[in-house]
Symmetry: C2
Subunit: 381 residues, 2 copies
């Protein structure tokens, strides 16, 4: 960055320059003895929005009647309703959701928590797709989406803090690790929580995930069908159910094909591209004769493709590669990636709808949904 990248606009004619910004952390401390409210003396109050009281006065009814009209109660005469609606239109009244939230104890917002430390939004397409699914499902309702990218422990604490402040009605968790305390914390706090993925099959929390085991098995069967026999696996983290179950599905298929467990080639990665490259290097050292790789994610497969190419192996002639997810990334690798399609966006939509249901009625039994996968064959196998 060079020196003069910053310049300021010519001065606004607002009389603001007398106030200088304080360096203090506390925004309230300096407003202390400063003066009266800015919008107080003005008779043309530019900022003050009409309240339910204003509307009531204008329509010649009580506050309650306005509230009834706004909330669609039947117990309002046609005449009163029309008067209220007219007043609302005239004044441009919009209910204050904060005030409403104070009494209803609902914020009409849900949090979507994504651990950013391990898999960066933007390089791992999974998260973007989940976000889109969630957002689409929420769009119909009046529910807002709070995105929380959690990088480290400090931000985790802040998250629980924020949750304790009751800023959201429920929480969506993506990419949960087995020994993560956050889910149980949320559960015991009585906050509706739904997972994308699960910690184990009988997870006490509601979850939606894809058929990782079946998908992985299908991928390996495909490689076997192609005549491959030295099939390696670059697995995901084993403290996540998604990592374990994809590995298990893979092993299952190999055993069924008569390949004994001791001959299985496994290296554990961390769902990152670089981790996968490293895992691939170690696999090639241990078993230079391998002829196929199943990667537990597209992103890992992409890294593996790069590593194989760097080591002079041709794909798919020398080595077949299969990924998992069928993100758009799979179409852009060289060569385009054979992969197991999972309905990522649908997962997002489903967890959102599930959460809304549980917020509506917390006594509902927990939901456990496993969505089917499908093998998409491209040029890497």
């Amino acid at each position: 960055m060079s020196g003069d990248t910053t310049r300021e606009a010519p001065g606004r004619e607002r009389s603001g320059s007398r106030e200088q910004r304080t360096a203090g952390r506390e925004p309230r401390s300096d407003s202390r003895g400063q003066g009266p409210r800015l919008d107080r003396g003005q008779n043309t109050a530019p900022d003050s929005r009409p309240t339910i009281k204003t509307v009531a006065a204008r329509a010649g009814v009580g506050r309650t009647t306005v509230s009834r009209v706004v909330n669609g109660s039947e117990l309002v005469s046609e005449k009163a309703r029309e008067a209220v609606l007219a007043a609302i239109a005239e004044l441009g009244y919009v209910p204050n959701s904060v005030a409403r939230g104070l009494v209803t104890r609902r914020t009409n917002a849900v949090a979507l928590v994504i651990p950013e430390s391990e898999s960066r939004l933007g390089s791992e397409p999974y998260f973007s797709a989940v976000i889109r699914g969630v957002s689409a499902a929420l769009a119909d309702t009046r529910t807002q989406l709070q995105l929380m990218l959690v990088r480290d422990q400090a931000e985790r604490d802040q998250l629980t803090q924020s949750v304790a402040e009751r800023r959201v009605d429920g929480v969506l968790l993506v990419s949960v690790h087995e020994h993560d305390v956050l889910p149980s914390l949320l559960e015991s706090a009585g906050l509706p929580t739904v997972l994308a993925g699960r910690r184990r099959e009988d997870d006490p929390l509601s979850y939606v995930c894809s058929d990782n085991r079946g998908g992985a098995a299908a991928a390996v069967r495909h490689l076997l069908d192609r005549g491959r026999r030295r099939i390696a696996t670059v697995a995901g983290p084993q403290d996540m159910e998604v990592g374990r179950s994809r590995l298990h599905g893979c092993q299952e298929a190999l055993v069924q094909a008569g390949i004994p467990a001791r001959d299985h080639l496994v290296a554990v990665g961390d769902f990152t591209e670089e981790g996968a490259r490293e895992a691939m290097r170690s696999l090639l050292e241990r078993a230079p004769d391998l002829d196929a790789v199943f990667a537990a994610s597209d992103l890992m497969a992409a890294g593996i493709l790069l590593e194989l190419r760097a080591q002079g192996r041709r794909v798919p002639q020398d080595v077949s590669v299969v990924g998992f997810e069928d993100s758009y990334l799979a179409r852009h690798t060289n060569p385009p990636l054979t992969t197991v399609r999972q309905p990522t966006e649908e997962i997002g939509g489903t967890i959102a709808r599930t959460l809304l249901r549980e917020i509506e009625n917390p006594a509902l039994p927990r939901t456990r949904l496993v969505l089917d996968t499908e093998l998409v064959v491209r040029e890497s196998s």
Copy 2:
């Protein structure tokens, strides 16, 4: 494979044990028509969180003193402060942010608005990077991030509605079109607003963007240095400043190199992969002898690479390609993409910090920031 894409995990029928689990959840669930408030007569209220009043009583002080301690005022004796802090710790008190917001008129949340209709989050890496930058900048503060993916007009209306409800203290807009009314709407509503990108150079709203013109010019000069002379441009939408300025920078460099404007090869795309492929097809028809392409985004460049390959052109031997952004996508294309690096994540961080400043002090003059770009040469040129 099967038509039945959904199945439920075993254990569904054990609703008995599940009810047991849910019993501890939210007692407010069925309080609707049931009777009096549950926590009213009870002296041992099981769920109701401690309020500032509870803490005050426990510490033997008044509400105001508790409020002062919580908000870090200096006007509290050491003794009182300790008593309050002890009470807070004992009771596990956390301030209710909604109640606080009602009186402070601050929600401590900002909205990040991303038009999803035109460029899908997940395929266009730009948005993910901006989100990450924003999120990181907000992490230090107590500000929450509301993500709004806007698909269609209905969702736009809903957005303005939500803004009118004062659910956020400010708004970040990404990817604004020239004739979009939303920015002016927000401005006239008096809601602090900052743009990633701008509508024009002297945009009345605060903005942060990258040096699109300079970056594009540098890209074209690079192509000229490589000996290319028939340089085509696949431009972005011309109703966006980012689309126009990248095209202008490109034309500028060509003119400077002595190539008359009438010989410039330009096709306008829409920042999507498919749109770029189409534009590329038309360019190849019009000028089969072109030897270089400057694309206004990495994603477009990726599409162009696919199209060139499909038509049997080799990159970079026959045609050089340069993109814009240096997203991680640029490293995964075939071949890896030469591109103009823009500090996307920094843009996100900067708009967030700018917005926070303007929320703090709305009288501040508007900020106009243009961040430098840098050419990253890889194998496509």
